[in-house]
């Protein structure tokens, strides 16, 4: 038989084939992502274990300070918790809490493969992007709870970060409003948004309150804690910022981001050689930043979470670098409301523009003396830090209640 084709059918076939081709490419992209995940350790893990009441997942040891107060609270109440971490040297593994079963589950996709099949009533994490990236919701987990690791907006994560969590522990009304707005825009089911406070800041505050007073011998201490990367302070100003600071009477502590010593080793070596430790200047690489923060009167830093820790816990002013911020990749870009951090920062300190380096001493002086910054810190603390001192207790209360509720539901279904 002659090849069948007529204009109508031919056009139809053509349209269908084009559509199918695009669909196929789309499917293949999805498969490639899955294959990459598979070959980078994301093989199905054996999850043949009994259903756990509560699992905490930590991406790494740096989050131990976020989880520790909650773990301690749970431990104190005798509530058995499994703590899964992606750091082999996570302090949790050796914390000695009786009711905390800390386990190292590997890093990256290996950890996600394990988590994708974990069985629990509740899983608590600070990791965003559940069900967006390789970390998928496990069918055997009833409830996912997210806990913020900074006193900032929930929209600062990369897009869709919290959309597939069932609950989020919050510390400010603006976070609540932003999250509800995102849910509405994306037509998502309403999450349980719990005003819980910020356990790790409570912890810092508690530690501060129990620490002896600092004696700087009357000398002001300026902490320069730059971040790393092309737009970070050292990359933009180089050693000039140290020259400017050294012209003042302040004692200078330089505490670069640990990553700088890896990624910008040359720059660091050069600076450390050019500006060695002296009476006026010290380089600080302590694992715990508590003491250095406590000693400092003002913090000069790039745009990072430590600004708020310093400002809100230690109640001291900050100077933050003028960093260009593009909100495109973040959930924030979905909202018309201003990025909360940028409304908060001017209230707690001064912005260091790229042409403002020479004015830095004046800015420091102004920050230290102007009472409006103290008032600004109070306002910001009020906005972003609810229930100070109660964070760990509230989080633990919620988690335990949720676990019991889910267990009860399970029992009634059986």
């Amino acid at each position: 038989m002659r090849l069948y084709i007529d204009p109508g059918t031919g056009s139809m076939l053509f349209a269908i084939l084009l559509g199918m081709f695009s669909a196929l490419i789309w499917l293949m992209k999805g498969w490639i992502v899955k294959l990459r995940f598979f070959f980078s350790g994301g093989k199905k893990a054996d999850a043949a274990e009994e259903k756990l009441p509560l699992v905490i997942y930590s991406e790494g040891k740096r989050y131990w300070n976020v989880f520790e107060p909650v773990c301690r609270e749970l431990n104190a109440r005798g509530f058995d918790t499994v703590y899964m971490t992606s750091s082999e040297d996570d302090p949790a593994l050796s914390c000695g809490m009786e009711h905390l079963d800390a386990r190292f589950i590997g890093a990256g996709n290996k950890a996600f493969a394990r988590l994708n099949f974990v069985s629990a009533n509740v899983l608590l994490s600070t990791t965003p992007g559940l069900e967006v990236y390789q970390w998928k919701r496990s069918k055997a987990v009833d409830f996912y709870v997210h806990m913020l690791h900074g006193p900032v907006e929930v929209t600062g994560y990369r897009m869709f970060a919290l959309d597939y969590y069932d609950a989020v522990m919050l510390s400010g009304q603006y976070q609540y409003e932003d999250e509800r707005k995102l849910e509405e825009l994306r037509n998502l089911p309403a999450k349980e948004l719990v005003m819980a406070g910020i356990p790790f800041m409570d912890e810092l505050k508690h530690r501060l309150e129990n620490s002896p007073a600092v004696d700087n011998h009357g000398q002001r201490v300026v902490l320069l804690a730059p971040s790393w990367g092309a737009s970070a302070i050292f990359s933009r100003f180089g050693g000039r910022i140290l020259d400017v600071l050294l012209k003042t009477d302040y004692h200078i502590i330089v505490r670069p981001h640990p990553q700088s010593f890896t990624s910008e080793k040359e720059l660091m070596d050069k600076l450390m050689q050019q500006y060695p430790d002296s009476e006026r200047l010290e380089w600080n690489r302590d694992a715990d930043n508590f003491d250095v923060l406590r000693r400092s009167d003002i913090l000069v830093s790039d745009f990072s979470g430590v600004l708020f820790d310093f400002s809100l816990v230690f109640d001291k002013p900050v100077i933050y670098a003028d960093t260009e911020f593009d909100n495109s990749p973040y959930d924030a870009c979905w909202l018309d409301t201003p990025f909360w951090t940028f409304t908060a920062l001017p209230r707690i300190g001064e912005q260091l523009g790229k042409d403002d380096l020479e004015k830095l001493p004046e800015m420091i002086e102004e920050c230290l003396t102007e009472p409006r910054y103290a008032e600004g810190r109070r306002q910001v603390r009020e906005e972003t830090w609810c229930y100070p001192g109660e964070g760990a207790k509230r989080v633990a209360d919620y988690l335990i209640a949720k676990c019991e509720e889910l267990r009860k539901e399970e029992g009634s279904e059986q």
Binding site: P7, S11, G19, V132, Y133
Partner: protein
Amino acid sequence: MTILSALYTLTIKPLELIFEVVFSAAYQSFQKLAALLLDVDFPVSGLSIIVLSLAVNFLVLPLYRRADAMQEEERNTEARLDKWVKHIKATFTGDERTMMLQTYYRQNNYSPTHVLKGAVSLFLEIPFFIAAYNFLSHLTLLYGSGFGPIQSLTEPDGLIRFGGITLNLLPILMTSINVVSTVIFTKGYPRKTRLQLYAMAAFFLVFLYDSPSGLVLYWTLNNLFSLCKTLCYRYKNSDLVVSFLFLLLGVATCGISFYLIGTHRKKRGIFFLFIGAILIGQFFRRLAFKRGKRKPFVFKRKPSPKLFFLAVVFLALLTGVLIPSAVIRSSPQEFMNLNNFVHPLWYLVNSFLLAAGVFVLWTGVFYALSDDSAKLFFELGAWVLCGVGLTDYLFFGKRMGLLTANLTYVDAFKVGNMDLLVNLVLVGCAALLFAFLYQKCPQSVTRALAATVAAVVCMSAVNARGITQSVAEVDLNSRSETAPNFTLSRTGKNVVVIMIDRGMGLYVPYLFNEDPQLEKQFAGFTYYSNTLSFGGFTNFAVPALFGGYEYTPVEMNKRKDELLVDKHNEALKVMPVLFANEGYDVSVLDPSYANYQWIPDLSVFDDCEGVHVYHANGYFAGDDNGESDILVRNRNFFCYSIMKIAPRFLQTALYNEGNYNSCSQQSSYQRLFTTSLAEGEYSDFTNAYYVMKNLPTMTSIADCEQGSFVMMTNDITHSDCLLQTPDYVPSMRVNNVEYDEAHQDRFTLNGNTLKMRDYVDYAGYHVNMCAMQLLGDWFDYLREQGVYDNTRIIIVSDHGRSSLQLDNFALDDIVYTLDSPGDRVDDAECYFPVLLVKDYNATEFTTSHEFMTNADVPTLATEGIIENPVNPMTGKPINSDEKTAHDQYVTASKDWDVNINNGNVLMPGKWYSVHDDIWDKNNWTVVAKNAVFTGE
């Protein structure tokens, strides 16, 4: 059947069938219209293509609408998502971009693969176009047909000529419409899309430029339809535009009608006026609808897919399995051909696939794509159709006469007015009742349907088992591996008995009168014009014919301790064994109903030493070898079922003179137009015809003293078929209009005129003539071979048929009607068989009015060559003493089916006694009205 062909039968074939019926109906309607209104050449094929194009496009319209709706939804979704899709694509890269898009799509219940969902409807349209294409590209009716200026629809049109160049106009027209369509359709689309579509239009212009104009016409019309569709969807006031188009067309048509009336062509004028009025009426109807004066009826309930599914499954099982299996089971072996064996159950598989395709698959597709309101109408329609179908099948069309293996009725298909009326009332009541039940108790309806489906499955299984058992009784190894043949001696004495089934004794003088050559060819024969057969059907008449007076129906009944089939087999063996015992070379071909099997079971002769047995029927069928039978049955079983479940007023159109609206010329039956016009061949006829035609091939001549005995049955006279006059030969296109008009006097002889009322009368006459002419040719051959004079030849038939062609044969006060011809057992023409006997060295053709019966054949065959012949089975003498010892008893029973009438005695029936002269009504007496008669 391969999986692919089964899929094709399920998906494409049903659509091809629908289009074929549409085309056929249009073709026939236009033919009739042309005959009624116009005396000019009417472009029937071209107009039918237009109807086909409209049918295809209207049928796919719901699919198109669905696809359009889905695509619009898709387009809207894409537009809604566009902002963030662009944002994500601009912001993220690599895997993160894919994952972000996946998430965003998921949140919006969208996936780029949804384009396939939208394409499903479009995809579903493709089988429709493939089916229409397949149908058109194999349509032989287009050969030689033109359309307006197009000379032939099977050639490129070549309408544009300038200088020495010829161009085809239709492909250019098709492309132009395509381009206009694209311009409108792609308004606001990206340039890339438009360019793609223009490129495709150009591609099709080049690719299809040399296609036959019939196909290009069809595609052009499709494109035109598509353009109208696009216009309607694009412009909001399209309804108003269409309404005014109706008005415009209506006014124009009325204008033409006034012109025609003015030019004294009143009939045509009135016709156009009528059409014009309808068109203008449409304009007002649409306007009224637009203003909301009419509101569509809406059901207040949720659709029930279960109910719909059960209803369509029931319809598929009823039409695809139960009805066909009941037909096959009545005589499974009739549906077998030993030379091209297909198990009859395959016909069931085929018809079921067709039925499932029509009812379950395609109706299901339309159901699935409909909105809730339309779904309810589908459910109601399917359920009511179940009721109507069952009523028609169970209570009507029971006495339509004999049905051939190719699903044509032996007698003319007519529906009486009373039958029509009763059917209409009952079917109407059934429809109302079923609609009421659907409305009031849908759950009970579902349960009832489930139970009925189960019952139909069980009944079909029982039928299938019966068919399998019957097929198992046939010795498939007996199919002829060597050609059927027999030997005639040049020097010894030969005896040949040829039984032509249902040969009409009444016709012989008329046939010989019309063709004077026959008398020469039949020189030496005596035509017995007063011959009686003992029943109107083969099972009653054959035993006596081959076995003599010991095997008349009455004598068979007397031996009530033996099975009829055993007595029948015994009768078949009487002459072969007798002659074999006498040293003759004996050949038996196609012994009727041997072992009561439609395909004679030759194993009954296994114990007959020296007897050669053959299946000859169908052996010489030619290249076709029964393929057309298989094709026809594969198609027509479903069509037959549809006809059976349809109300009576539709059945004549669906039956379509046994053609079931087929447009194929490769058929195993004739499409009959009038008593003088027909198309196609009837395979039952050709199977028998080629055996007769090949008699010289089958005849071996031997120079030996040993004589031969040949006993043969042939169905040529049992297979009504219009033949081409004056030679009475089979032809794909029979046209006897002129011959019939010029030779009406051939049916009058000695003041007696045969009443030729319908196709059956003509076709019956034709096949009898054909048989005589073929026999005459064979006799010529025997003469050439020098074996004519030393061969005794008996041409005999088992019985005649009722056609009430001569008044004095009507035994009762029966009046000729076309209804239920199979019931006419009170017509003595049924019992008037052919008997032509030529003895050794006879030279003159004579006619004898001596009272004979076809039970005289064994006596005639043995007379003078076997001394005191004795039935080797019973030891009784073979003679015709019984003929004159008492009146002869003829059974007027209608129970011809040996699958049913197969006990020890014949089933009770009506009986006549006859003596001396069958032409005298007074010699016929009813001796029993419903009895197992034994002559006492």
